[in-house]
Symmetry: C2
Subunit: 706 residues, 2 copies
């Protein structure tokens, strides 16, 4: 049989299954004329992008065989999940996982019915789909996920179908630059396939309306070799030839160390009765158009593709790659199946000896030595990501082990850059840091993203979507647990000076904690030793998002190694116990803790119990029968929601002035004097005097320290 | 005097003032050798980007005069605010606003001291700086702000200095495409100036390391004509000639309807002792290097620029544009000074007559007729923005008044696109929608952004930074109030079916309400008439961010026009009063309201008081002495924080299944049966039966309606 013939037959099978998923409840092989009862009551789904994606899948499977090469496929478009399900079903992976969806007529009925159906499967590529490590829905992260997936995976090619709608988002637009950060020997390759089908929901796409010459320039400008082909105009056999040749060219370019991009121009709604208009975005035919639906489905000639029992004809099965080489069965995408355990050094080797060293320490700098050792012990499965802030955030020590990754020109005025650097700090994009880290974790490796607390908000929605992914994949037994997504929030709101008000925003934790504690944790280690143990805990965890707020400026140290270990384990620490205390003082966050420590010195004769909270999820469990003051790093709304039983809630307020860090605490009322006054109201006039003395000096002290 | 001479003199003056702001406390004209006491104790600020930005400012001022043309300048880089302050001071605007910063030696001392100093002014371009409508800090929105500012401002050119670091962010990367949405006659022009100074904080920039040829292709691909110049290598006079000529070329290209981009390659830290390395990012010299600081400051030859009293020499003042033409005094950037009042039609003309028309209605569709009329009445100062979702969100009627804006090729398969369309719906980027709307509002016009509730999270941080802008500008009397930023959140979490779990995320409101009520309001109108009055209120407001959650699917209507007006005015509505009620039921959000209405029908004999909350900010004021059930649209944490006094808090939970809307309500426990059971515990077994009957049918009902 001619090669084009089997490509066409596989492609028709995938298209038939995809269209049937939209419409059919029964009569899966069209053995009889289509009747009203064979069709779903409400047709919900998207066809526009599906045939183009089936076309790509067909040719990637072909390339897996031809080049004996591992491919994974990341589908960027928001919808059209039926395409991926169809291919996983043809390849057999779907039935291996969902055993009731058998490879016969009754299985076909189940396959078709469940799609975009209540309690069935979603209309986009979701975690339930084998072979997918990327969910449709919120657009823009497909390329970033791919770049993250191939880091330290030298034998892998991640093909990415980028929708031309998705390509207009900010995150996707900057993701193309990811090619500047892949090492030719140590990392795999990314093959972006821009799917130019011309329309979004109801508008044309920008990339489809600029000229072919402009598209070429745009991508060449970003360092790609452009292979643009158009299909759907002059017969399907020439189309297959064009695409096979495009992939051959791409493979040759990879061999020469180049970065290919394939631009695949295909009609929106290709092979359906409605082509080349935005109206093909969802379903080309309504349910009452039964004759047209039947005609369309029959145009794929299912009788040539299936045996009478509903199984596939042999040549189609023979065409599919085998075992783990099947794109839908590639274990790289199955979560932690290829999980490489992380070797962690003993935390105690890095802990501050607070008995013998009483100097203030920079918590992040102490942490950085631990991170450096982890990088040394795990040269192929641990990375950290940062938007040009690693040095600002005091992550100095890893630079003694490795350098920053940079594949463009190197100059003598550069520092700490190299081709094989493992620190991902050279691109100023929170979206790329977060997206590449997700791609790295989703393929079973480990790492963290360290950034300014305020600007972590930039990737707020990405974190939420990752939490949703975890919420779903935890219920899928065939996916193994993932390493945690760890986010270090530093340069935080209490440590700004000249950066001022734009850099003060502690709200990410509040937003993320709408998610339940089994997915999201937030930690506030108040010193270096607790930060070390917190990091250890987060790196050992699975299937969670951990938000760690940490101090970077010199600051007194509180816990010896042993106490720190205990405090992190319990999530809180009773720093000063007084069984008959009049007042309970609780602090969470490095700045509140240190102000509270000063406050309890001012009120020596009062019986105050002082508790330090490190893990926000224990807040709900705290209850005392005396007045309780909670001093929080962030917005008090969160604490009020978690525990309504406290007497006073102090925390960050919108001040807006440019001040010293100490001024900020006074203006926000979380300073030692305000806290002392709450504990001991009889000190009020004395404390007010202290505060007003301080306020007179605001702007004179310069940048203060604790 | 030669032209180059005065350009050089002005440039030197701006650089001198900028460097002096970093270092000096006294000795402002260097009339004596620099002494230790003349220098700030802690030097905090950034020099790297400053001279290049002064260079641009110099040449834009020159162009204002030469072309008799209004320019505003948006400074994208995160830091270097001293540059803008310096120019505003030379032009006199600064002293007009801050009268104590006089144009003499004592004023210079104040000017220098306040910069990046506690309770002084911030180190980036902040709202306090006249001429700025864009704050440094969170990067990536400069171009989007500029594109928004020039819409309906045909005589304006918005020049934008885009930092080469900022250019790596997602939002900025896609902003270049904004050129596809400016009408040649009705809108102004954007002149992007990519400031290629080669380094970020400690890494090189991508755009500076790719080849000149690649840069040209990249921008040509996006439809720009590239003018790349390099300065700082062969003498300052040729540099000025190059830049003046680049601007002349840009002006010629504008005349021909082209989109120029100027790429200005200048050494990082230009004119300082440290050039061309990332080490020039912050301060090139430390405070102890007094001799070098003095030498550097003297290199600008202040004695040639100032008169002995500290005023500027006449030729420098003569060079400055006059009055409102000064870039720092251009009223476009002063908030609402050029505020065009919005003409609003009577809401009652659009209200549903619920007495005579009892059919379900689509709230968003009813709203769309009101919006259409506003667009008709305000053809030059009202727009709405949407990421290809206007139709999906039922904003149909404005398409009868105008079309979508699209400047690329038009094809017969397109619908509702035109060159002069005023609906900004054609670019799939939440960042661009939000950024352009901000630019439009910041220049005194009106509008809203309508989007899927879930994906509004994508611009979470932008909204927060805009709230911070408002928090600050409200305190600046010389800035007049701004029209509100109105966000319509629709296709919300209770109205998903096939889109499923990724599209369910009601948390934006929770995150934003960490801000105080004087800046952020959240409204939950439960039907069309209340939605209309809510929109009217939001469009009439000033200096706020309004979040409006609205239903788009057919749904029963509740309020007649008069009741709706009252309900919106009060923020709540007592739907069923019972002075001796056993239970108070409160609902907020269209779905909770409708389920509660069904629930109170099930418990007819119970004495239930039922209150509908429309304005979230009144939640804190509600207190009853009987058990109270609060049923909320979003996450209950928010309601718990606002009011801890209720007995039950029901709301959205992370379900994760694909279900019908009714199934979702059952699974989340906000259905009529669950609510009835809470009101009347004696109904428990009956309600449990109803629920389990329903659950049996889950997946059978198809897409249900209320």
């Amino acid at each position: 049989m001619m090669k084009g013939m089997i490509l066409d037959r596989y492609f028709r099978a995938a298209n038939y299954l995809s269209a049937a998923q939209l419409y059919l409840l029964d009569n899966p092989l069209l053995e009889r004329p289509l009747a009203d009862g064979d069709i779903k009551k409400k047709i919900v789904g998207h066809w526009g992008t599906v045939p183009g994606q089936n076309f790509v899948y067909t040719h990637l499977s072909n390339a897996v065989n031809k080049y004996n090469q591992d491919f994974i496929l990341i589908s960027g478009p928001g919808h059209g999940g039926n395409f991926f399900v169809s291919n996983a079903y043809i390849e057999g992976t779907y039935t291996e996982i969902y055993k009731d969806v058998t490879r016969d007529k009754s299985g076909l009925v189940k396959l078709f019915k469940q799609f975009s159906f209540p309690l069935g499967i979603s209309s986009h590529v979701a975690p339930e789909v084998p072979g997918s490590m990327h969910e449709g829905g919120e657009l823009g992260y497909s390329l970033a996920h791919a770049f993250g997936a191939v880091l330290d995976n030298p034998n892998l090619i991640a093909a990415v179908i980028v929708g031309d709608g998705e390509a207009e988002t900010g995150p996707l637009s900057t993701s193309w630059w990811g090619n500047k950060f892949l090492n030719k020997e140590k990392d795999g390759k990314v093959l972006p396939i821009l799917h130019l089908n011309g329309y979004k929901i109801s508008n044309p796409t920008i990339l489809a309306r600029i000229t072919k010459e402009e598209r070429k320039k745009y991508f060449e400008g970003m360092g790609y070799e452009v292979i643009e082909i158009e299909v759907g105009k002059g017969g399907i056999f020439p189309d297959h030839k064009r695409m096979a040749s495009a992939i051959d060219t791409a493979m040759k370019l990879f061999e020469r160390g180049k970065n290919p991009v394939i631009i695949l121009k295909s009609p929106k709604g290709w092979t359906s009765p409605i082509e080349n208009t935005f109206k093909a975005h969802q379903v080309p035919l309504e349910r009452h158009q039964i004759d047209e639906i039947e005609k369309w489905l029959r145009s794929y000639r299912p009788e040539e593709l299936f045996n009478p029992d509903g199984s596939f004809q042999k040549d189609i099965l023979d065409f599919c790659p085998k075992g783990d080489r099947r794109i839908s069965a590639n274990k790289v995408t199955f979560g932690g199946i290829r999980y490489l355990p992380l070797e962690l050094p003993k935390v105690s080797n890095f802990a501050v000896d607070i008995q013998n060293d009483t100097l203030p320490k920079q918590d992040m700098l102490i942490l950085s030595a631990y991170i450096a050792e982890i990088m040394k012990l795990n040269p192929n499965n641990f990375r950290f990501f940062s938007p040009d802030e690693a040095m600002s955030n005091r992550l100095y020590k890893p630079f003694e082990v490795t350098k920053r990754n940079w594949q463009e020109e190197l100059r003598p005025t550069d520092e700490s850059l190299s081709r094989d650097g493992r620190i991902m700090d050279s691109m100023l994009s929170e979206h790329m840091c977060e997206g590449m880290l997700e791609g790295y974790l989703l393929t079973g490796r480990h790492g963290f993203f360290a950034t300014y607390e305020s600007f972590a908000r930039v990737v707020d929605s990405m974190l939420f979507q990752h939490a949703k992914w975890l919420h779903q994949t935890k219920q899928l037994k065939w996916r193994t647990p993932l390493p945690c997504l760890n986010l270090i929030l530093t340069s935080h709101c209490w440590q700004q000076d000249h950066n001022g008000y734009t850099h003060q925003e502690p709200g990410l934790v509040s937003a993320m904690l709408n998610f339940s504690a089994d997915i999201v944790s937030a930690y506030y280690p108040p010193d270096a030793n607790t930060l070390l143990f917190t990091m250890e805990k987060c790196l050992q965890g699975k299937d969670k998002i951990n938000l760690i707020t940490a101090s970077k400026h010199p600051s007194p140290q509180l816990f010896c190694c042993k106490e720190a270990e205990l405090a992190v384990k319990k999530g809180y620490y009773i720093y000063k116990d007084e069984p008959t205390a009049d007042v309970v003082l609780i602090a969470c966050g490095d700045t509140p803790v240190k102000e509270c420590l000063e406050a309890i010195k001012i009120v020596p004769n009062k019986r105050v119990k002082f508790i330090i909270v490190l893990d926000i999820n224990i807040v709900a469990t705290l209850k005392f029968n005396v007045p309780t003051i909670f001093v929080f790093h962030g917005y008090t709304n969160l604490i009020k929601a978690l525990n309504p039983n406290f007497t006073y809630y102090l925390g960050y307020q919108e001040e807006g002035a440019i001040t010293t860090a100490l001024d900020m605490r006074i203006l926000n009322g979380i300073d030692r004097f305000s806290i002392a006054e709450l504990i001991a109201p009889e000190l009020q006039s004395k404390m007010q005097k202290k505060k007003s003395e301080h306020k007179k000096h605001i702007g004179v002290f310069g940048i203060d320290k604790f």
